[in-house]
């Protein structure tokens, strides 16, 4: 009886350790990383900030998409916003869709930001930042350029106004619209 109890206790302890190890492995495996260039952009459906329905990435298949992750509390997003709006006006006739994804932000503050910068491209609200996390966004602003087949052409982890990123952004857009 004693031996059986001892064996059971040992088994239970081993099961606990195995469970903890499994949790650790799961956690390491599920850490969010930016999807690699050339991979299919993670699918999502998000509500529009203005409340007029939802937008899914899948519904835009066949058109190049610029995904810009931003937040109204982000300082560099303020200088990036007018440039994005200008680029949107420039590339829109070529079929490019710009999507702003607002995350970690109050909806009211985001709406004020959009109005203040006169942004006219669709802005989506990622309240819980789940989509943002899927895209491995570490700090706003970050921008992805997705081609017509839904593959990622470029990932700019910083404002598109940065000297190094400006050329890369336009090169990716030229490739996407070719």
């Amino acid at each position: 009886m004693t031996h059986r109890l001892k064996a059971m206790a040992q088994l239970l302890a081993l099961a606990c350790v195995a469970g903890l190890l499994a949790l650790l492995v799961w956690q390491l495996d599920h850490q969010r990383h930016a999807p690699p260039i050339g991979s299919i952009a993670p699918a999502f459906t998000l509500r529009r900030l203005d409340g007029s329905g939802t937008v899914s990435l899948a519904s835009l298949r066949g058109r190049p998409v610029v995904l810009n992750f931003w937040s109204s509390s982000c300082v560099t997003c303020k200088s990036e916003a007018p440039v994005l709006e200008r680029d949107w006006t420039r590339y829109r006739p070529r079929g490019v869709v710009f999507l702003g994804v607002d995350y970690n932000d109050l909806a009211s503050a985001a709406r004020t930001f959009v109005a203040a910068h006169g942004l006219t491209f669709p802005i989506l609200k990622d309240g819980s930042a789940s989509v943002t996390s899927t895209y491995g966004v570490a700090q706003a602003p970050e921008t992805y350029v997705v081609n017509r087949r839904g593959r990622i052409l470029a990932h700019l982890a910083g404002p598109i106004t940065a000297p190094g990123f400006r050329g890369e952004f336009h090169a990716a857009l030229a490739k996407a619209t070719a």
Partner: protein, 153 residues
């Protein structure tokens, strides 16, 4: 005359409303700063100095001034940011596990400890000397010793 009076009275009510609405606030900023997380730095607001935290603090202050309860403010923040904005998990659904598991763990630990102590004390009992049988003498010697001692009675 009467419509004009009603219009002025109505305007006075509208204007006076917000000012007098919260003479006695129903919660406080320091309390909520400990309950709400900063979404960018993953600490509570009272430990964060980020712009995102400041933005939420302004929102909370506005709602406290509008006489909102802590629960209502938290609900509004959850609607905007999701459940992760709260420092503590909710008291319903799957989140209940976070509250009950530590208690169950402590109770299970106490039961296991008590069982272990009980078993240990039981195992020790036979080893302790208990009277004549624990004297280390064989039965014959013990009987002769009893006879000898009986002579002195």
């Amino acid at each position: 005359m009467i419509p004009r009076f009603l219009a002025v009275f109505g305007a006075a009510l509208v204007l006076a409303g917000p000012a007098s609405a919260c003479a006695r606030p129903r919660t406080s900023l320091p309390y909520l700063e400990g309950q709400v997380m900063c979404p960018t730095c993953h600490t509570t607001l009272d430990q964060s100095d980020s712009a995102a935290a400041h933005q939420i603090e302004v929102f909370i202050s506005q709602k406290i001034a509008a006489c909102w309860t802590a629960q209502r403010i938290e609900s509004a923040l959850v609607a905007n940011y999701g459940q992760g904005i709260l420092a503590a998990p909710s008291h319903k659904g799957f989140d209940l596990l976070a509250w009950w598991l530590p208690i169950v763990g402590v109770l299970a630990g106490a039961v296991i400890l008590a069982f272990g102590v009980w078993r240990w004390s039981r195992r020790r009992e036979p080893e302790e000397p208990d009277g004549p049988t624990g004297s280390g003498l064989d039965e014959e010697t013990e009987r002769r010793l009893d006879d000898l001692l009986a002579r002195f009675d």
